[in-house]
Amino acid sequence: MDTIQSLTQGMLVALSPLNLLYCFIGVLWGTLVGILPGIGPLGGIALLLPMTFKMSAASAIIMLAGIFYGAMYGGSTTSILLNIPGEAASIVTCIDGHQMARKGRAGPALVVAALGSFVAGTISVMALMLFAPLLAKAMLKIGPGEEFSLILLALLVLSFVSRSPVLKTLPMILLGLVIATIGMDPFTGYMRYTMGYTGFAEGLGFVPMAIGLFGVSEILMNLEHITSVQVIKPTLRMLIPRWKDLRDSATPVARGTLIGLLFGFVPGISHVVSTFISYAVEKKISGHPEEFGTGRIEGVAGPEAANNATTGTSLVPLLVLGIPAIPATALLMTALLVHGVNPGPQLIQNHPDIFWGLIASMYVGNIMLVILNLPLVGLFVNLLRIRYAYLAPAILVISICGVYGVNASPVDIVLVAAFGVIGYLLRKFGFDLSPLILAVVLGDRMELSFRRALAISEGRLWIFVKSSFSQIFLAAVVIIIVLQATAWYLGFRIRSQQEAG
């Protein structure tokens, strides 16, 4: 009953004319950045972040979250029509989606992707609505010792699920934590590694770092091969799916949703991993696995549902624990902090308008996205006809405006350039960037909770293991370390044997 009352209150927030407009701008911009390679949800959020400074916190988070889940919808369009994933989570959709388009069945693929995304997105919001308050109640009891163990666990999980090997992920996490120590010491006010520049007192800016590492590095990757693309443009008539398509997609959507919901909680690359797992599951249980890759609708429906199902649950760690699960939600956290709102167990209690307003807006936003993505697909796809020679400077200018808007400092533009090159080089040599950026976000809190815990216990380390929460977190940490060490050792042995052979 409480949930329904709270959701009604949230609907009042989300359905106010201004918030409806912001939600629409968010999902529209999200769809566009999902379609355009080189921006993605992270860049898309960063670009509109300065615009939210004058808004209320609820309006800001409604718009920025709209970009986040809107980008998940947009990414599938380019995967199906062009074989170009707009963002990482849509890579799998290329496999069968584009084959369907080449056989003249782009319409059903787009419709199934949009409807699957809608169903999964809506169920994901329900999961967020049901789980977040329960988890928040439990998490109110955690102190600094438990918080430190929890962050340690999050970082280790990150290293475990990362796309790069553990020996490449671990230095990325540590580099992120090292970068997080730049700026004023939160306890004593001592300036660390600022080189006397007061602009670094708050640390290296997260926005220029994120835009550089993800946005600019993506542009640099695309500049390696500038090619024009052949656009398949579906007509409205082509969009009507057959009854068989819908029937064949129903169970893959259900399975994909379940996989996405579970993986949404995992820090790191949940939305990418869930799509690959969903595709693998569909292929495994299909009566015709050999036809996967030739245009099976299940290969589109499952991964697209999985991708969108992660959006709601990936917000749970952010809103309830204050721990962002993926880089895009780290930027949502920055937006909340700018508005003086601390994400964590007390968010639901202290700012119900923000939490329930966001949930209600996600229901509304998902409906907007279905309406936007089907009839207007031809219009969006036209954007991809723009040559990259024009698109690249446009994306860079938008990025610069977004970055400069946060602190009004040209030093941030230099940071964008520097992190762009760093991101490009790291990506070229197979280093995953997500652990780096998430460690930067979590570094401050990790240090703060560690020092607070030691101060409370007067230097006794038992504070990190005394509560049952801590024991669970630390047991998980030990299990992950053992699993990782075993996996590394086995991988090492196999590689040594291959080299010897």
Partner: protein, 150 residues
């Protein structure tokens, strides 16, 4: 374009990470370390610096155990021009104002990446810069460096 082997690239990155770790450790020399019960501002950075040195040594060691693998091609004129153009823009941004500096930036890229004529590049760059200024400054309320006219 340069094309080092994967192993060379990994080694260079491991070396750079080791240097960063070392700089972090050395940087704590003047910082109060505090006691274990009340760690000072130098405590966490020294631990992290040492851990980063250790992790990069482990990475370097693991790379050395295997033969050099595939070659990775890095960069071309377009790629290296982008960060240089961004740094130039950072220098000119507040000195010239948004419209002239962004017009130069866009014009440079159009000339570099497209086959448009000089005149077309200049006209398109100025129009795009004015459009971007009006959109971001007036519509989105982003604070951007202005000139006498815009």
């Amino acid at each position: 374009m340069i094309a080092p082997t994967q192993r060379t690239g990994d080694m260079v990155i491991a070396g750079a990470l080791f240097c960063i770790g070392l700089i972090w450790v050395v940087g704590t020399v003047d910082m109060p370390r505090g006691e274990f019960s009340i760690p000072g501002p130098g405590f966490f950075p020294v631990v992290l610096g040492l851990a980063l040195c250790g992790a990069s040594l482990a990475l370097g060691g693991s790379i050395l155990m295997f033969r050099a693998a595939k070659r990775v091609s890095i960069g071309n004129t377009y790629i290296w021009s982008t960060p240089i153009a961004l740094i130039a823009l950072a220098i000119l941004f507040e000195r010239l104002g948004f419209v002239p500096s962004i017009a130069l930036f866009i014009g440079f890229f159009l000339r570099l990446l497209s086959d448009l004529k000089w005149v077309t590049c200049v006209v398109a760059a100025v129009a795009a810069a004015i459009g971007a200024y009006l959109f971001f400054s007036y519509l989105l309320g982003v604070s951007l460096p202005s000139t006498r006219w815009l």
